[in-house]
Symmetry: D2
Amino acid sequence: MNCHKTLLDTYAHIMSIENKGNVADYIPELGKVDPEHFGVCLTTNNGIQYTAGDAHIPFSIQSIAKVLSLSLALSLEDTMIWQRLDVEPSGSAFNSLVQLETENGIPRNPLINAGAIVVCDILCTHLKDPKKELIAYIREVSNNEDIQYSEIIAQSEKSNGYRNYALVNFMKSFGNIKNDVDQMIDLYFYLSSIEMTCCQLSKTFGFLANGGKQLITNKEILTRSQSKRVNAIMQTCGFYDEAGEFAYKVGLPGKSGVGGGIVAVLPNSYSISVWSPRLNKKGNSYRGMEFLELFTDTTRETIF
Amino acid sequence: MNCHKTLLDTYAHIMSIENKGNVADYIPELGKVDPEHFGVCLTTNNGIQYTAGDAHIPFSIQSIAKVLSLSLALSLEDTMIWQRLDVEPSGSAFNSLVQLETENGIPRNPLINAGAIVVCDILCTHLKDPKKELIAYIREVSNNEDIQYSEIIAQSEKSNGYRNYALVNFMKSFGNIKNDVDQMIDLYFYLSSIEMTCCQLSKTFGFLANGGKQLITNKEILTRSQSKRVNAIMQTCGFYDEAGEFAYKVGLPGKSGVGGGIVAVLPNSYSISVWSPRLNKKGNSYRGMEFLELFTDTTRETIF
Amino acid sequence: MNCHKTLLDTYAHIMSIENKGNVADYIPELGKVDPEHFGVCLTTNNGIQYTAGDAHIPFSIQSIAKVLSLSLALSLEDTMIWQRLDVEPSGSAFNSLVQLETENGIPRNPLINAGAIVVCDILCTHLKDPKKELIAYIREVSNNEDIQYSEIIAQSEKSNGYRNYALVNFMKSFGNIKNDVDQMIDLYFYLSSIEMTCCQLSKTFGFLANGGKQLITNKEILTRSQSKRVNAIMQTCGFYDEAGEFAYKVGLPGKSGVGGGIVAVLPNSYSISVWSPRLNKKGNSYRGMEFLELFTDTTRETIF
Amino acid sequence: MNCHKTLLDTYAHIMSIENKGNVADYIPELGKVDPEHFGVCLTTNNGIQYTAGDAHIPFSIQSIAKVLSLSLALSLEDTMIWQRLDVEPSGSAFNSLVQLETENGIPRNPLINAGAIVVCDILCTHLKDPKKELIAYIREVSNNEDIQYSEIIAQSEKSNGYRNYALVNFMKSFGNIKNDVDQMIDLYFYLSSIEMTCCQLSKTFGFLANGGKQLITNKEILTRSQSKRVNAIMQTCGFYDEAGEFAYKVGLPGKSGVGGGIVAVLPNSYSISVWSPRLNKKGNSYRGMEFLELFTDTTRETIF
């Protein structure tokens, strides 16, 4: 199959149909983006990149970064982290708070907010300067020294983050937060502010399509076993209350962010990223979902 | 890799460690089984079977049959069924009732009880003699005329099935049950009573490892697209509140039943079944889970 | 204070302001009533009745009858009934199902549907011909042989009662229903179909304003202690999710029904009934609530 | 009836039966109290006090103080406060968080933690030095300049108050907290730390038995209407998930605290306080509940 042609054809088709949904505006900064941006980049395991559209414009990857903080936590503590986190899908957002209550402050998985906060707490326990060391790790995984936090997004998250303050205090009441609340929640807000282009994002996630090893350099980011498990978690928990829909329609492990980005991997083959800011009702990129469904329907390659 | 040797070695290892958990006894009949049974059968896509232990003793496949009723419904209505069912994981059992309430009687997915009841209702709408036609379909998929309902299990389910009567009436109050309650719930209880051996079970599920086509005969049970989607649903919803754990540890789409059976598939490769009646706290076969984790760790072949 | 004048003035004032809300139509029969009916009757403990408006037109008292079935159950088993029922307010309707789950099938109180169903089950255990004996009891309490079930309402309830079938089966799964499901739920639907006029209703409830003794005859319907406790339960649980509001604004123990009726008592003084079919958002008679708030504001006599 | 003799007899009887339950220890300071303390004081509306046992030993009144902050808020804003608070019972503690979510950050009533926090926020908006002015108000209501915050209890609450920090941030995310989080939550922790003896407590609450007017001085603390409504709220919401039970068994409006105190009023007659630190499973004083049930059974005077 001519992968590049399929990608361009799919892109053209999705561009030709109506774009739907709204840009996230729970923080003012996110609402300022042009809703019609649309970019795609596929990186094969041998490092070739195919792109379409706005693949070189940086955007806020938001929750997608939770996969990278999870990877760092796995590098530091391996399976020890599962004493403080579960790996089950969370159902509707509505349930996540109830489940924290009934499950004694143990978040359902590391990709929902509560779980990513616990991951940040784990990082704070291990790192001397968590904010600095986290971005250094992400630059290393990306093999790109230019990746940065957005100070303006981080501050905007912080001044609108009362629900996250509630989560962290609630988990602290169950003893599942070990570090000082204010310091560690700061790390969480910075994590959410990272910006990448589609090309940077798909290249960064290449290690999850490559058994845990960085593309080209073959440097081990995660062991093969850890890498496979991160993919499993993305598969079951990566799309809020649309994980089942994504598995059903697309059939690749992946993760979305409210900035309109989605990244997905076909193990042993490629990593692909899409960015389009309008979100469907479940909070995932409308065009991102449409694109990936059509693309995998055409290539007929999925994990299932 | 010598697949048969790995299977035998894994079997021997699991046999050598302590068996844990309890046999399901919510209906008296299930409680009568010998808790120490343990059988395995792997069927490759070219029809070769490798077995270990009690692979030829029939057992109650229970909820595993929900995948087969779903397949029949997909054959009859294809994607139309998703107007009355969702494809999302359900979280804890506790939530399923709440979610039915907040989601207007639409079950989270076709593999939880509420969803399988709606599937039975769909079948009742299409079939003249649903009970007879369903078992005929399952015999056809299995390529085995000996597959039967267990009258004694069906009656036992029925006389202890108040919670299922509650579910069906609750959904009826939302208009999501179209047929007469008593008739259609009867079909559901018979569906839960089907018995197979490990060898019959893994052979039956071979079509899901084979792009929807029956092994050997290549008869189309489901289209490739439908087959891939059934696998996706098993992956996200097949293990009650342990779907994430199964994805994480085993990494294959599959389905378990409270009779202690588990079936899983590696697309394009094989279908495997395990049976051991003692269940862990989440209601899945203790040895079944242990066996499949060790087996896939050894073969290093998973969908991730 | 001139009680009759206050009643007439209050009636006139409420008539002069806009009537709001909608008539219940979850069963077709209830939806057929003229929404502008408005009647009031106050019966003093010495048997004098003051009326205004449509006080002599029969209407469906619906859930108000749950207080009478509770009284009969208390006569039969006294405090033994609390082994199968609680006396706590239920919060929002939404919670009642969740609470049944978390509290093992024990309804929160005898005035919500689940609780009234358990009360009917208790009656079925004691009575040979429950339907006949229940109406006989209610006629005795009312001192009126004309009180009747409405066959047409009962059948309408039954053919729309899937949610109640769900409740009874759900509780049966916890072992909190002892009798045959179909027989006992029948009693429940008949209980909901009783019709009275405002004058009959306020006279019937006179015993709860009179320490458990029927007005005039002084016949003991309940002991003083039981009577006081039924009032306490009405106070905390009598108005669905508006019990607190009713306590706050009106300050009398009482019970409402979706037919638009409300009955309330001032212990040692009087019993009052109001009927107006339009319901507010919480399911209580709009004019009934308005009338009673203004009436008790004027008389300045409440239990608080 | 000889009120003093009944009080002494009841006290003696309760002393003669086994004391059950445990002292609250969620903050270390509360756990240090002698669990066998037991004191009672009844203050009649003409100012006479009858006592038994440890009626002159100060204890932490804890949540009982929420009635006093509510009174102050009503004095300042009257019914305006109900735009930010409801008056319905909250059901189980478990539900309170869910209800905050489904009801957009509006607490069920002013006597649960979330509601009392909103009341503190209202006070912070009106008062220049909230901590100082609140204690001044309570001293005025008590007619006693010696009433004080316990600095040690307040600090202990604060350093264990993560769940309350969670509540306040959660409500802030819905816009239902107007003031700076840290400052206002401080007021809440001080409110919970107030200490009184049984005699001070029953005298302080005399105004709620006296139509809103302070005993002896007849100074108006609340209007008659406000006073009646505070009683209604105590009746339906004053005993956590045991409000129905207290109404059923005791039949007086009242409020309990985890320090083992209970205060209750019989409108137009008396105010009574009991203190005994061992709590039953629902978090209310074991002996306090037993005492008040027996006392009102004997006097046969309740609001019902």
